[in-house]
C-alpha cells in the first residue's frame, strides 16, 4: 500500500453480527483500505470473500446479507471514509 497523499490508507471497523458472527468466528476487525480505490461496502465484501472458506460462503452472491454504516442501514454502493463502522448481518428477525 502507498502512503502518498492521493492514496492515503485508512481504517474501517467491520462488525459481524448474529449468524455471521457465529459462522466467521469473530465479532469484528479493523480493515485498512486505500483511498484511491474509492472503497465502498462492496469493496469490503469482495475483500472478505477472497479469504475463502466460511467467508466466501457467507458473503457469496445470492446470500441474503444486510449492511449498516455508522449504525444506519446502508447499501453495497455506499462509499466509506476513515473511521467508519461497517456492520454485516443477516436479514433481521426481531419483534
Amino acid at each position: 500500500m502507498s502512503d502518498s497523499l492521493s492514496s492515503a490508507p485508512f481504517a474501517v471497523r467491520v462488525v459481524y453480527l448474529a449468524r455471521l458472527h457465529d459462522a466467521l468466528g469473530v465479532a469484528g476487525e479493523t480493515l485498512t483500505l486505500c483511498e484511491t480505490d474509492a472503497p465502498t461496502v462492496d469493496t469490503i465484501v469482495a475483500t472478505l470473500g477472497r479469504r475463502g472458506g466460511a467467508w466466501a460462503d457467507e458473503l457469496a452472491p445470492g446470500r441474503a446479507v444486510r449492511f449498516a454504516v455508522n449504525q444506519r442501514i446502508a447499501g453495497r454502493a455506499q462509499t466509506l471514509k476513515d473511521g467508519d463502522e461497517v456492520a454485516i448481518f443477516p436479514p433481521v428477525t426481531g419483534g
Binding site: 462488525v15 453480527l17 448474529a18 449468524r19 457465529d22 441474503a64 449498516a68 449504525q71 444506519r72 442501514i73 463502522e85 456492520a87 448481518f89 443477516p90 436479514p91 433481521v92 428477525t93 426481531g94 419483534g95
Partner: protein, 148 residues
C-alpha cells in the same frame, strides 16, 4: 415518544397506563405484544436468545417511530423490545400507540411492527431439543412492510 431495549420483562398494563396518562385527548390505544411460541417451523422450541446491534438499535427504533408520526395522526407511541435469553410464553416486544380516533392508532401500531420486523437490528436464535438455529427472515414480513 419512548423507545427502550432491555433484558428485563415489562408490565404491559403499566406501560399502557403511563403512555396515555395526563393526555385527555386520547380516545384510542392500540397495542401489540409479541411472545415466544413453543413451536416454530414444526420444531419444538425450548427457548431463544435475542441478539441485537447495541449501537444501532435505539436509533433504528426512533427512526421507525418518527416515520409513524409523520404518516399517521397519533399522539404518542412506545416500543419496548427485550434482548437476551427468553423462554416460551415470554414477552418479546410491546408496541403501543395513542391517538384521538382508532383508525390512526391501529394503522400506526401495525406499521411500526411491520417496519420493526424488517428494519430493526434484532436476531433470534432458537434453542431446540437437539441444538440451536438462527431464525430465517420471512418473505411475508418483507411483503407486510412494503404495503405501507
Amino acid at each position: 415518544m419512548t423507545v427502550r431495549v432491555q433484558t428485563d420483562d415489562f408490565d404491559a398494563g403499566r406501560e399502557l397506563t403511563r403512555l396515555r396518562r395526563e393526555d385527555l385527548g386520547v380516545g384510542a390505544v392500540a397495542s401489540f405484544i409479541g411472545t415466544v411460541r413453543d413451536v416454530n417451523d414444526a420444531s419444538t422450541i425450548t427457548g431463544m436468545t435475542l441478539e441485537h446491534y447495541p449501537g444501532m438499535t435505539e436509533a433504528a427504533l426512533d427512526d421507525i417511530v418518527d416515520e409513524a408520526r409523520r404518516r399517521f395522526d397519533i399522539r404518542d407511541a412506545l416500543i419496548v423490545h427485550r434482548v437476551g435469553p427468553l423462554a416460551p410464553g415470554d414477552q418479546i416486544v410491546l408496541v403501543a400507540v395513542t391517538s384521538a380516533h382508532r383508525g390512526a392508532a391501529f394503522a400506526a401500531c401495525e406499521f411500526i411492527m411491520d417496519y420493526l420486523k424488517t428494519r430493526a437490528p434484532f436476531w433470534k436464535k432458537e434453542r431446540l431439543t437437539d441444538g440451536e438455529r438462527w431464525v430465517e427472515a420471512r418473505a411475508s414480513d418483507e411483503d407486510a412492510a412494503r404495503r405501507w
